[in-house]
């Protein structure tokens, strides 16, 4: 059985089902209760689970730090950070504690927390509401970083993230929250973490993208005459480079797409993994189609900053003609 859902609805449904499944699961964050979240991802959840859904004060370090304590007590904390940029207020709690707790205690303590947060541009949002920092989180050992690009994956990945015994940064592309309605399996549905998906097969080049860039990449590929394989990374860390490498060994050419600034972005890591394991198969330099090395601008300049299908198409053409 499937259901036609928007991405944000799939999130909400998954939270609901996981709460039913796991009585120790708690959902908390700013405005997730009465208001049901500013994107309505937790809508009506509090009515169903009045004792396990909490509005918190505006304090992100607290939101993360509380989760470390909840986890130690045996609960399953699922926190929402209202927008990804505000996780920086709790960055120290993520890096110094959540990510390290298992290794520093040799597995005697773990942090089974999922931190959900809307990320990325494309919705003409306010300043600091459009950033992508997956690369920064992927550089922190002990953290998992997961980014769905469609409703079904949103459900399957979120279920896996919540059930995972380690801390997961779960980045939800705001641009896609309501962009499409797609079938989502009903009932128990998980998508394993750290497995990329080949969402379109091709022979001439590989395009790697994740989250909000996947639809843009797919439409760029559709606009192209060439046969381009599209890999949806799905989990930024630990990264499934095997799928990418396999594809690039086949195609010999690759474009990596992300919204974050180019320098130090996750595309660099993808290039490095290709360098490690598929260099001799490369017929052209890997192209990075990314945000520029400028702070994500306010929305009047957002379209100029954020890769769209046209820019991605040009990147594919460059890599094909090199």
């Amino acid at each position: 059985m499937t259901n036609e859902l928007r991405l944000v609805e799939a999130i909400r449904q998954t939270l609901d089902e996981e709460m039913a499944r796991d009585e120790s699961m708690v959902v908390y964050g700013e405005d997730v209760g009465v208001n049901g979240g500013v994107f309505r991802a937790t809508q009506a959840l509090r009515d169903e689970y009045p004792d396990r859904v909490y509005d918190t004060p505006v304090a992100e370090a607290a939101i993360i730090g509380l989760g470390v304590g909840l986890g130690a007590y045996g609960m399953t904390p699922v926190a929402e950070i209202q927008f990804a940029s505000f996780a920086y207020q709790g960055f120290h709690q993520i890096q110094q504690h959540a990510a390290r707790m298992r290794s520093r205690t040799r597995g005697t303590l773990n942090v089974p927390m999922t931190v959900r947060m809307p990320y990325g541009g494309g919705i003409r949002a306010l300043e600091l509401h459009s950033e992508s920092f997956e690369a920064g989180y992927a550089h922190i050992p002990g953290l998992k970083v997961v980014i769905p690009s469609n409703p079904a994956d949103a459900k399957g990945l979120l279920a896996s993230a919540i059930r995972d015994p380690d801390p997961v940064m779960f980045l939800e592309p705001t641009r896609l929250y309501r962009a499409m309605r797609e079938s989502v399996p009903e009932g128990d549905h998980t998508v394993p973490l750290s497995e990329a998906a080949v969402v379109r097969e091709g022979e001439d080049a590989t395009a790697v993208a994740w989250g909000g860039m996947v639809p843009e990449t797919l439409s760029a590929v559709e606009a192209s005459d060439a046969s381009v394989e599209v890999v949806d990374l799905r989990t930024a860390s630990p990264m499934d480079s095997a799928t990418i490498v396999e594809s690039v060994r086949k195609t010999g050419r690759c474009v990596v797409v992300h919204e974050a600034p180019r320098t130090g972005g996750l595309a660099a890591e993808v290039v490095a993994r290709i360098n490690d394991d598929a260099l001799y198969h490369l017929e052209a330099p890997v192209e990075r189609v990314t945000g520029y090395d400028v702070p994500f601008p306010l929305f009047a300049r957002e379209d100029a900053y954020r890769p769209d299908s046209e820019r991605i198409r040009r990147g594919i053409e460059r890599v094909l003609s090199a």
């Binding site: 207020q89 300043e127 820019r311």
Partner: protein, 361 residues
Amino acid sequence: MAEFSVEYVQALGEDGAVDEDEAPELDDESLRETYRLMKLSRRADERAVALQRRGELGTYAPGIGQEAAQVGSALALGESEWMVPSFRESAAYLARGTPVHRLLWYALGMEEGAEVAGSNFPPSIPVGSQSLHAAGLGWAQEMAESDEATICYFGDGATSEGDVYEAMNVAGVLDAHTVFFCQNNQYAISTPRRIQTRTETLAQKAVSAGIEGIQVDGNDVLGVRAVTQDALAKAREGDPVLIEALTYRRSMHTTSDDPTVYRTEDEEEEWGTRDPIERFERHLLETDVLDGESIAAIEGEIEETLADEIDLAKAGREEVDPAEMFDYVFAEMPPELRRQKEEWKSENERGGKEEGFERDE
């Protein structure tokens, strides 16, 4: 061992009565200007919300209901003293002389609207974070032996952020010339004040920094003005103060928000009867500072100003050059960024036309 208390000040009662002990000394001209700014702000907010509803503006955070708190406090500040706002301080900006089109530019997603003019910081989106900048400015004023001070705005929600506590605490230690002005408008988006903190007041947060905390009726522009003047006088001597202005956000959090989800009509109506502009207007009418005619004149002038400013804002929007996003990252553009800008230009400016810059709404 140690004892603390928090006082509450009101100069202009809800009934229109003035407590002369608390009210500031202001001539009629100042009173009228205060009134004009409050009305201007109210109408600017209303127009902005309407523009947003028509798709002509981005997300906007109106300050409707908070005009007394903002105008009363901002007018107490000297022109060259620093104002460090949050994201809902249109009224304070207007009181500081910022033209409406600059505020609209910001709401149009243009950095042009966040350019610093005069001693005003740009809007700050991350809740409470700007309080540390205000502490820095106030500390700089102390080090410079300046007789000036800095005012910082934030909301009730912000008082839960570590930054705000750190800011008050370092301001206390460093004798920063900073007044922390908390507009307790009862909500942080949907979250009511009682869920932010277990305290009776927000003013008592000052106790944790060893600085003075005071509560004022934030819908009483005279009380706010007086309390802020006092606080600034102390701050100028190196004694920071926290002011909690009790007010109410009469409309939505931002244009993305629907307050009916989380609060009752009764509550909104109750606060409606305490509207700061109406209260002040009654007082000015009763004391003959204003009459129907002068009010009409002010209102007419405001509508004209707004019409002009909205035109200016739209015209500016047409001029936006997206390629400028590369220009202000560093004082000097590094080679890789220059390369990226060239790349952008070659892809977007074929034949002089700028592509990739249509609004897709």
